[in-house]
Amino acid sequence: MEMYRSHVMICRGTGCTSANSEQIAKNFEEEIKKHGLEKEVVVERTGCFGLCALGPIVIIYPEASFYSLVKPEDVEEIVKEHLVKGRVVKRLLYAESVEEDRIKSINEVDFYKKQVRVALRNCGIINPENIDEYIAFDGYKALAKVLTEMTPVQVIDTVKKSGLRGRGGAGFPTGMKWEFASKSHNEQKYVLCNADEGDPGAFMDRSVLEGDPHSVIEAMTIAGYAIGANQGYIYVRAEYPIAVKRLAIAISQAREYGLLGKGIMGTNFNFDLEVRLGAGAFVCGEETALIASIEGQRGMPRPRPPFPAVKGLFGKPTILNNVETYANICPIFLNGPEWFASMGTEKSKGTKVFALGGKINNTGLVEIPMGTTMREVIYEIGGGCPNGKKYKAAQTGGPSGGCIPASHLDVAIDYENLIALGSMMGSGGLIVMDEDNCMVDIARYFLDFTVDESCGKCTPCREGTKRMLEILERITEGKGEESDIEKLETLAKNIKNSALCGLGQTAPNPILSTLKYFRDEYEAHIRDKKCPAGVCQALLSYTVIDEKCKGCGICAKQCPVSCISGQPKTVYKINSDKCIKCGVCMTKCPFKAIEKK
């Protein structure tokens, strides 16, 4: 391997890429060449660094200088100053990393300080398109250990001892799943990876696949050895083109190195992988639906038992784990199960990756030890809500989960605690909402999603979610009735108990949890026909604030239905009977003299 004095790491995750990071990488290469530094400085395109809000991000090692919001035109200066003269360009550094007398490295800033990166260990550190870099960071060492020193039973015991639970959301113990499949006798078995990350608001699996695809490949091979399978499938969303491309590169490199295929590492163990592209169906996150989809069928779930460990893909014993679960496997073998079990709470071990999004300053990916409090994640790591707005709730678990209000921010994050709060871990989407978000609208949004994604096989989900959505729509349109809350609660209970799969059984959760913590908002919509957050259009009225109106008349000119009247230099009035609530007047008023309530 070549040695370089400086490494320029440029994020090529989806976030930074769409903010033009490829151009930045090209500019770096060009400028470095111009200064004749090609032999001293290397440019690496890496996976996600996590702090997507400040992308594009460039980190220069060995100093670990953290440049944020870099523009292609900044590159010339960074090369000239930092790489040629050794002077860090303070102006372009992540503001928090600059202190009066010194510059903090990336690991010292608040966003990273509390994080422990296990699943994301290589993201942003290696070039995911180069297997040698993965190997240099202990890649395929766990596989070598497993294949040459351990029996399948020992492998399963190690995973069991670590306490690792499924990171897809439900939290089933991974080792037990492997054990079931290993005990099913069949010549043909399969190892599947669920990379059909469908939860709106979650993007950790995409980042792992984009930033460290080999860690998933290696872990699936270990799983194959453990249960006695020689074929695996990675079911990945077609909407993740970068991840798909990097997986394909990684698989072909692994085959070239003899790490996939026949006689892996000179042993008599065979294992190969194939990528299957999901075609866009949320229900395919459910294991039996995903299996149907790999078989080329409509992705509809079927009743269990038989569980996939007994009868799965093409009728053969199958295990299915989520991307993040696999990303945790290799470190368990390298550092020992005790190390893994030393992190976290009593029943939830290790770390969890969350995708922070919505009304939060530091949007991006964070990995924290289980047991960290919600408050630490949202305020210390996430930096709180932007523009000084008040935190209202955080939503976890996507359409299957619920909300965590301000009063429960000090709860330690683990599987059991989140369920006790009426939410769930889910795959790790964490969407923060502030005072401007209406909780009835959020419940309606999620139901709209489930109705759309319900496969239609079982009646409670197909019909029940639709009825709940109709009631919610009525409420947000100001036509809610006193009995609606009760109806919602009955429907929710029945659907939870009778739906066929996880999608239907958890579909009522967003309603139940918003009802639990924000019942007053529902009541305001139903009784007072008001939306306290000012979101539900039908319940809003636009009015002119007399003291602020200067009588310029811009609003009257812009109104598409001419419902604003008045004379220049006098206070204008909005006729709310004619108003279509388009909001144009409010956005056009130069004096912010129009409000909606």
Partner: protein, 170 residues
């Protein structure tokens, strides 16, 4: 493409290597449909029947699978396919206003194509770039942190690019 003489498979030759590639792979119907859509832009009835015949499954099954997944389009799409993200982060950050802006600028609703066949608007579940919300993707390129004004500006740029290339070819 369908003429009365039964030569309805004309023009689908490009699919032959695809059939070959998946011939011995079990459960590859979805992969075949994905590649067919990539080649022809959408899945017409004729195309689906042709696939059914060639890979030996019933046309009803092909139609069933094609209608189940949101990725498959049964109608032609415009030159630029706008995928508007409906994820939670986008929703709380104002994806509705972006949708309004697209509708205003192009006069199309979700699932529709502009009369000049340039743009099609499709709503999609989360695109996974929540940190850039609200987001839309046009022909694979992601546009983030959208506002109604920025959305219109982007669409106008596409339009300008088109009229320019139209001038060049004229």
């Amino acid at each position: 493409m369908n003429c009365c003489n039964g030569c309805h498979n004309q023009g689908y030759e490009k699919l032959n290597p695809v059939f070959e590639k998946y011939r011995n792979k079990p459960g590859s119907l979805i992969s075949v449909l994905q590649e067919a859509q990539e080649l022809y832009g959408y899945l017409s009835m004729e195309l689906m029947d042709y696939i059914a015949e060639n890979i030996g499954v019933k046309p009803a099954k092909v139609h069933g699978v094609a209608t189940f997944y949101t990725q498959f389009r049964l109608k032609p799409v415009g030159k630029y396919l706008i995928l508007l993200c409906q994820g939670t982060a986008c929703h709380v950050n104002g994806a509705d206003a972006v949708k309004e802006a697209i509708t205003e600028e192009l006069s199309i609703e979700e699932g529709e194509t502009t009369s000049d066949n340039l743009f099609t608007l499709n709503n999609v579940a989360c695109l996974g770039c929540c940190s850039l919300s609200p987001v839309m993707m046009i022909n694979g390129e992601t546009f983030g942190k959208l506002t109604p004004a920025k959305t219109k500006e982007i669409l106008r740029e596409f339009k300008a690019r088109e009229s320019k290339s139209a001038e060049v070819t004229a």
